[in-house]
Amino acid sequence: MIPRILTLGGHDFSSRPPDRAVSELMLRLATERAGGRPGICLLPTASGDTAEQIGRFYAAFGERPCEPSDLSLFRLGRRPMALRDHLLAQDLIYVGGGSLVNLLAVWEAHELGAILSLAWRQGIVLAGQSAGAMCWFEAGITKSSGRPAEEAGLGLLGGSLCVHYNNEPERRAAYLDAVGDGMPGGYGLDDYAGLIWEGAGPPSAVTARRGARAYKVTSTDNGVVESPLPARFLPAPAPAALREDIAEFRRIKSMRRRAGWLG
C-alpha cells in the first residue's frame, strides 16, 4: 500500500456541500485502503479533545459506511485504549485543528510520532486540517501562542505548509517572510483546498469550493513566489436526508415492481 496523506487548509464537518465533499473524499480514501468498511479514527488532540470537535466528527461519519472512533489523550473516556493497537488497526487517521504546539507536545509525551509514522508506512491514510495538516510537514506557521510563528512538525512530508491561506492574511504574510528568511518552501492552502500525497511523488491538489486554491510557495532570487496549482474539483455528494429519500424511493419502486404495479 502506498503511503498517503491528505492535507487540508481548513474545513468543517457541517452538512454544507463543500464540507460534505471533503468528508466524502476522506471516506473514499479510507475505503480504498480497507477494501471494505474502513476504520476512521479522530485524533482531536490539537483542540484539547473538545466534545464539540468529537461531536462534529461523529455527525459527519456516524451514519456513513465506516467505523468511526476517537482517541482522547486528555480524558479517560468510557474505555481506556491501547493507543498503538487502536491506531494501527485504522484505515484513516484524521487529525483535527487547534494548537499545533500543543498537538506536537502532547504527541511527543505519549510517543505517538513513531506510531503515526509506522501507520503511514503501512498505508494507513493520514489526514487532517489546519494544525492537523501542518503537523505532517517539516514546518508550519502556527498561531498557538497568539502571533503567527514558525513551528517544526513531524517531517513525514518535506517542506512547509501554511493553512487558512485566504482567510488569515497575517498568517500568510508571516509564512512568506519566513520562507524568504530561509524556512523551507512549501505550500499555501486556502480553506477547502487540499493536497493528496502519494508515496514520494508530488502532491495532487483538490478543491471542494470554487475559487479555493492551493499554492506552491518557493523562495527565488526575485523573492518568494506563490504559484497556484491546478486542482481537481470535488463534487458534493447528496446530503444524508436526500440519500435516505432516494433509498426510500428505490425501496418503494422495487416493492411496486414485485407487486406488478410498474413495468
Binding site: 483542540s47 484539547g48 479533545d49 473538545t50 482522547s72 489523550l73 486528555f74 480524558r75 479517560l76 481506556p80 485504549m81 491501547a82 493507543l83 487547534g98 494548537s99 504546539v101 500543543n102 506536537l104 507536545a105 502532547v106 504527541w107 511527543e108 509525551a109 505519549h110 498561531k143 498557538s144 501562542s145 497568539g146
Partner: protein, 248 residues
C-alpha cells in the same frame, strides 16, 4: 530578602472537581494562601482546558472569596499575554485533573514547568488533584489509557505518588508492583485525602471525608511497607491539639 515558604498540597482526589458540595479541601488550600482575598489561578491543562471544568472552577472560587483567573494553553490568544508574570503574581495555583502525561507535555512546550518552579520558590502555594497532584513529584504512577506506567514528574517533591489509591485495587496493586520494580518510595493518597508539604517535608495529611487516608509506601527486604499516616479530618468533629495549633 525573606525566604519564602515553599508549599504544595497534593490531593489524591477531591475538591470542587470531585466533591460537589464538599469544599473542605478547597477551603484548606485557600486558607494557606496569602491575604484576605487571595489571587487564585486555575490550570486546567490536564483536561485539555475543558470549558465546563473552567466554569466549575469559577463557581467554586467566587469573586467574594478570592480573585480567580485561569490560564488556557489551548487558547493563548484569549488569556494573559505574559504567562510568567501572571503566574508569579498568584497566591495559589490550582492544577486540575486529567492526563498527567499530556499535562507535562503541554507545560514543557509553553515553559510552564520553569515558571511553576519559580512560583513555588517565591511562596506561591501549589496544589491540585489527580494529574494535578502527580505532576509535583519525581515519579508518578499513572493509570491513564489502560496500562499503568511510571511517569517522570516535575520533581519538586523527591518521592513517588499514587492518587485515587485504594488498598487491593488493580490500580493500587500496580503501584506496589512499580515500587518493587525500582520506583522510589512515596505517597499513596485516597480520594478525599491530601498531603501538605512545606519544602520537601510532609507537614500533615488532611481529609475532606472522615475515613479518607494517606499512606507512605516504601519498598523493603520483606516487600512493600505501607504506613498509614495520621490524617486530620477537616470537617466538624474532634480535632487534635496539633490541628488546633496549626489552624491558629
Amino acid at each position: 530578602m525573606e525566604t519564602a515558604t515553599r508549599q504544595i498540597v497534593a490531593f489524591g482526589g477531591g475538591g470542587f472537581s470531585m466533591e460537589s458540595g464538599n469544599p473542605l479541601l478547597d477551603e484548606y488550600v485557600l486558607g494557606l494562601a496569602r491575604g484576605e482575598r487571595p489571587r487564585v489561578c486555575f490550570l486546567p491543562s490536564a483536561s485539555g482546558d475543558a470549558d465546563h471544568y473552567v466554569v466549575r472552577f469559577y463557581r467554586a472560587f467566587p469573586a467574594e472569596r478570592c480573585e480567580a483567573s485561569h490560564v488556557s494553553l489551548f487558547r493563548r490568544e484569549q488569556g494573559p499575554a505574559d504567562l510568567r508574570s501572571h503566574l508569579l503574581a498568584q497566591d495559589l495555583i490550582y492544577v486540575g485533573g486529567g492526563s498527567v502525561v499530556s499535562l507535562l507535555g503541554v507545560w514543557r512546550a509553553h515553559g510552564i514547568d520553569e515558571i511553576l518552579r519559580e512560583a513555588w520558590e517565591r511562596g506561591v502555594v501549589l496544589c491540585g488533584l489527580s494529574a494535578g497532584s502527580l505532576c509535583w513529584f519525581a515519579e508518578a504512577h499513572s493509570g491513564f489509557h489502560g496500562s499503568s506506567r511510571r511517569v517522570d514528574g516535575l520533581g519538586f517533591l523527591p518521592f513517588s505518588n499514587c492518587v485515587h489509591y485504594e488498598r487491593g485495587s488493580d490500580h493500587g496493586l500496580a503501584y506496589h508492583a512499580q515500587l518493587r520494580e525500582g520506583m522510589g518510595a512515596g505517597f499513596a493518597v485516597q480520594d478525599g485525602a491530601a498531603v501538605h508539604f512545606v519544602g520537601a517535608e510532609l507537614r500533615r495529611a488532611v481529609a475532606s471525608r472522615p475515613q479518607a487516608r494517606a499512606f507512605w509506601l516504601e519498598p523493603g527486604p520483606s516487600g512493600i511497607a505501607e504506613v498509614e499516616l495520621a490524617t486530620a479530618y477537616l470537617g466538624e468533629g474532634p480535632q487534635s491539639t496539633e490541628d488546633a495549633a496549626i489552624a491558629a
